[in-house]
């Protein structure tokens, strides 16, 4: 097998860097901490290159959709639109950096205007459409078919109303009792569940880290294993 294709080298590199990072967290050794700091800075640089990779990949994917378009299926138009917008926004960003003579394109009024008045507005509109779907689901699907479903439904209704700005006031003289019930649901059964999930996820992350360092988990090296 070619030297460059050997899996042992990236595994050794991963294990070495992981051990130094862990060591630098628990021990105040300057050399280890300097190394860890440099590695973290490398990540910041690499992340920027992954954005370029992302643009290339999404363009290739949608180019394929346009090429494979079938008669009667007009969904390829959205792929054209996506590529046009990616190119437009990329060029606007480059222009923004140049014209505003700053580190980020957001200083450029045109870039900022498009972002605030189109991106924010459209994204908020997409998010707010949830109100319609949740209403429909609440009416049609969220039924107390079993005892467990009834408990879930009741808890959800109480917490939902508690999160509304005027939620507890609706209950008038019983507002204090309603608040107490909401707090109890949040602070006892909800918190117990979330703490279990958090602790489970942390133990899982440690296990995954050990598997990666010992070369048992190789998914990050690419497809096939």
């Amino acid at each position: 097998m070619s030297f460059y294709k050997r899996k042992e080298i990236p595994i050794l590199l991963t294990t070495f860097i992981a051990l130094v990072m862990i060591f630098s967290t628990f021990f105040k050794v300057k050399a280890a901490q300097d190394f860890a700091s440099t590695m973290q800075t490398w990540v910041l640089v690499i992340v920027n290159f992954t954005v370029i990779l992302g643009i290339v990949m999404i363009t290739r994917m949608h180019k394929g959709r346009i090429e494979k378009r079938k008669p009667g299926d007009n969904s390829w138009i959205f792929s054209v639109w996506l590529i046009v917008l990616v190119v437009f926004y990329f060029l606007l960003g480059v222009y923004g950096v140049e014209s505003s003579r700053s580190a980020t394109p957001t200083r450029n009024p045109a870039f900022a205007w498009v972002y605030t008045n189109i991106n924010v507005a459209l994204d908020s509109a997409m998010y707010s459409m949830l109100a319609f779907f949740i209403s429909s689901a609440a009416f049609r699907a969220f039924k107390a078919r079993t005892k467990e479903a009834a408990v879930l439904l009741l808890s959800a209704a109480v917490i939902m109303l508690y999160n509304a700005p005027a939620g507890s006031v609706i209950f008038g003289p019983l507002a204090e009792q309603f608040n107490a019930l909401s707090e109890w649901i949040l602070n006892v059964p909800n918190m117990a569940g979330f703490r279990g999930i958090l602790i489970g996820a942390a133990v899982g992350a440690i296990s995954l880290g050990i598997r990666v360092m010992t070369g048992r988990e190789r998914g990050y090296l690419g497809a096939g294993e």
Partner: protein, 286 residues
């Protein structure tokens, strides 16, 4: 009541449901209803924590938001928090680990209450905007260990940190007194806990969160890791009310939010009434 009524209700056209929610949300957006409002203890604690800030301490304002979160619940939270912080004699660092949050920092500064609060503040001396720091949680770790190395590019305008006087005393996370994080999701509060508060346990944390994230975040408040939390749209409205910076538009947004919640609750009740009414009519299984 006639059983056919419930059957008809069960089979109601979904467009009718959409129309009802559209009207219920639309009315308060056209004319404010001034629905009553209570103030939750968490919001009072959030305000008190900022009020208690000593002079000249460094506070980081993490604008870790998506456009959707900002456009709804987090925008009012961010504007109210920035107004309050600018009223205090502290040094403010605005930054974000969400690339979507970077353009919105300056948008917060355009709010009229924020403009009033920051009129005597000088950029570089009293506040800075460090913009987007890439790398999500790794970026946070990098910032915590070496602020200057992480930000060799300078602030969001490209000004080197050496030219920003207030940054002279900010080298690592140990120099940060408090973090206020307005968060949409990951990276957000829990990641700051792991990368910042774990390195500087004295650092105080306040979090402004979406309503849907409150149940997950509440565990950190109970553990004392967050001093307090702003609970979605409700928290934003309460905080604006406490600071006396609520505009008519804010009242409209708050009323619309309450109406949408109430309507969903009504649909839940009616849907279940219909379910039980029609279920009784069904023949028992043999």
């Amino acid at each position: 009541m006639n059983m056919s009524f419930w059957k008809k209700l069960e089979a109601v056209d979904v467009r009718l449901i959409f129309l009802v929610i559209w009207i219920a949300v639309g009315i308060p957006l056209l004319t404010p209803l001034y629905l009553p409002l209570s103030i939750s203890p968490d919001t009072v604690k959030y305000q008190a924590a900022i009020d208690a800030l000593p002079a000249d301490v460094v506070v980081v304002f993490g604008m870790d938001v998506s456009p959707a979160g900002y456009g709804g619940e987090l925008g009012p939270q961010a504007r109210a928090t920035a107004t309050h912080l600018f009223r205090k004699p502290v040094k403010l660092i605005f930054l974000t680990f969400w690339e979507t949050g970077a353009p919105l920092i300056e948008d917060v500064w355009k709010n009229k209450f924020v403009v009033d609060a920051m009129k005597d503040k000088k950029y570089g001396v009293d506040y800075v905007n460090l913009g987007w720091i890439p790398g999500t949680e790794t970026g946070m770790a990098s910032f915590a260990t070496d602020v200057w190395k992480t930000l060799e590019k300078g602030d969001y305008k490209g000004t080197k940190l050496a030219d920003l006087p207030m940054m002279a005393k900010v080298k690592t996370i140990s120099d940060i007194y408090m973090l206020v994080c307005i968060e949409t999701g990951t990276p957000g509060g829990p990641e700051y806990l792991r990368q910042w508060q774990a390195r500087n346990p004295q650092m105080k944390m306040l979090v402004g969160s979406l309503g849907v994230s409150v149940p997950a975040n509440i565990a950190y408040v109970a553990a004392g890791q967050y001093i307090s939390i702003l609970r979605g749209g409700r928290g934003a409205t309460e905080y604006q009310r406490l600071l006396g910076i609520m505009t008519t538009a804010d009242v409209m947004g708050s009323d619309a939010m309450t109406m949408s919640h109430v309507i969903v609750l009504v649909f839940l009740i009616v849907g279940n009434l219909g379910y039980f009414a029609t279920r009784k009519a069904k023949p028992a299984k043999t």
